[in-house]
Amino acid sequence: MKNPYVAFITATKDKSAPPNCHKFSGVNELLEHPEVDIVLLDQAPDQAAQSLSILRMQPAFQFNLIFTRDSNLVLGDGEIPDDPDLLIPAFRLWRERMSTFNRGQSPERFEERVLAWLWTRPSERLEPTLNSDAREIYRYPLLEVMAAEEPVNAMLWLNLMTEQEWLERGELLDRIRLCNRCNSGRLNYVDVCPDCQALDIAKQPSLHCFTCGHVAPQEHFLKNSLMICPNCLSRLRHIGSDYDRPLENFRCLSCQNFFIDADVEARCLECGEHHEPNELKIREIRPYQLSEHGRLRCRQGFSDQSVAEAFGRLNLIPGTSFRTLLNWEIQQARRYKSMQPCSLLLMRMEALEELTGYTEGLAIVDSLVDRIQEAIRDTDRCTRTREDLLWFLLPHTDRQGREVLRSRLSELSGLYQTQQSHWHKEIRLAGYTLPEDLLNQEDGDLLMARLTGEVS
């Protein structure tokens, strides 16, 4: 294996590059050399963070190993090792993982890019960083650089990926509240009048005279810098023995309402929306990592699922339901001699598994399914009992109709082959029509087993 091409960028002018490394003046120069395998950023943490986010936005450097002086930078791969030779095993590991990701397909879409990044760095997680300048307070820098131009709602995306079991949640780091209109975390909590929601409220101290029990606002008691009860005219000298402050009420200076507890309102500083605190969005902030399931799919490739999705368009019904329907047709054929004909057709696509390992294969499957969809009727029922076996139950179809469909489907075999001439795979078909092909004692299961034998 050839040695990796290591680029070295340093903030110190006269510092020379370590052995086997190529010195670059800065990130901009580096961008012209997409062949670089490893980048060493010998810069101060702030600058290195900036360089990192520039590099991670570039397709050429999105997944590459980038080492920095500071081991804690979010998009970096840790500290520059003292011994440059240590780069080689790290690079080898990285390349190995990169090549096994999704069966060697290069990550194209946003989620693939994020998954590839996590896949190539087994110990890394999708870490949130606190950023008080940001509206959402917490950001996921990796998602931002991977999204590039695409508009991505990070939280929504993370929830979706977690639901689909690609990612799993890490420990809870924080819980924040956001404006439910604009998702901003910049909120101001103010106490307002519960009646008119005005901001202009003031505490109004009240006094309680022990002698006569009179309670009134403090200013009613103050006369000539003495405190005298306006009701019984006794001098109030000492708090606790002559008087006390029973309640601290508020008065709204806008509607003159008198109240004990003010309402609390959360006002969004971005969009000006007023909320009650319990109307705010609550967001839990956690790191995310590849789940076991996600790792497996990264290794085995995503396309399996894409094939299933493609066949899903045929409105497949479960195998048991299909069998029940088939049995019902057989029973009718036995009992009513004059029933409408009904046919069963089996289609086997040879080596479909192999094919779906490649992007082109997936496209073939897609167009196959399109053509099948065109060929069959709404009233037909399909099921897939094995990866390569597709069953069609065709009501009101006699042998002739069955043969028409059969020939159409066998034409697909051409489509299946011409795309990639070196694959000589074919489509095999087997058919059966009720009531003429009805055999004694044969039920749905036996029939399907017999037809499967015919096509293998």
Partner: protein, 443 residues
Amino acid sequence: MLDGVLFQLLELLSGLGNLEGLTQFLLLLFPFFLLIELPFNLLVLAGVFRWYIRRLSANPNQSLYTPKVSCIITCYGEGRAVEKTLLTLCEQLYPGHIELIPVIDGAAENQVTMRAVRNFRVDQTLYPQRQLNPIAKWQRGGRVSSLNTGLQQASGDIVFALDGDTSFDNTMVGNMVRHFEDPNVPAIAGTLRVRNVWTSLITMIQALEYFLSIHTSKVGLSEWNTVNNVSGAFGAFRREFLLHIGGWDTHTAEDLDLTLRIKNYFGRRPLRIPFEPAAIGYTDVPDTFRSFFMQRLRWDGDLYFLYIRKHADSMTPRLLGWRNFLMTLIGGLFFQLVLPFLIVSYTLVGLVVLPLEVILLLFAVIYLVYFATTVIFYLTGMILVSERPREDLKLLPMVPIFPLLMFILRCWGVACTLNEIFRRGHEETSMAPWWVLRKGKRF
């Protein structure tokens, strides 16, 4: 027995006609009371009357003088009682700014007090002019160090020295501060009342004692500018003056020491230390006889330490002015230090020399004279001085008991003075830790 006493009384009265009988009668009573105590008491009463008349004829005066006030609150083991002190200071009706400086001595060990101060919040909407600046002295340093630390941090023109277990009427600061408008006032004494009056008999008696000897008597003394002491639990000072004389001095009885040092300027400047009967502070007093007598052992012993040991040199009319020199000589030295010895020795001699009936008669007469004095002072105080006559009226049952306790206290004074003379009792004060006391200058 009663017949014997009556017989003796009749004999005495019948003897009044002739010179010999009169001389005998006078001789018996003379040393205790008449020669010095009567004129002294008359002087005080005259002062009270003068104050009352002056106040009646005074023009109502709304002053605009509202300097910033700093309250140094010395805290030690008061616990949550401190909260009440702080609250009553926040509640002051005084329109000026008040800075509250609770100084917690030995804050590391007095966690409860520390927490109480720390958790106390001054609601700025309710008390916009009040500001809390607590100071924690983690290592204990004593009262004097607390006061001086507070003085260092104080930024007000007027500095109050207050106890952490004393709470105040809401007019207190306003009533005290107005005196400082006169530039010749360096300090003011405030009125202390007893907070735990109804706890026990001894607290009730002390309530009466505070009412008579502080509340009423000091009004009289103040009229002649001879206030004997600005209490450590409740006094106010002009900060500038306080800094000029170097703040509080180490040793016990720092309040009396400071008063004396201020008075040392009286001979040179027309200074005055008023007493303000309308500035009321409530404080807790000892609630058992034992703790009461131990407190007096300290107080009365400190008098000897201060007057004889520490400030003997400043006892001259040149420094104090004639008026205060004489007053200190009589009210301080004679009444507090000499009279107890006279009383005790006369009693002892009397017990040996005179027949029992005569002794009893003598005691009865003495009691009656003191009782009469108490009644006169009590009535004067109730009618002319008290701002809460209704409450003070409840102390009436204590009036007959009061002279007895005063007599006992006088006798106890002997023990106090002897304790100081021979055992240097002031060095055992609990007001400062031993490592501080040890370094203080010895007198």
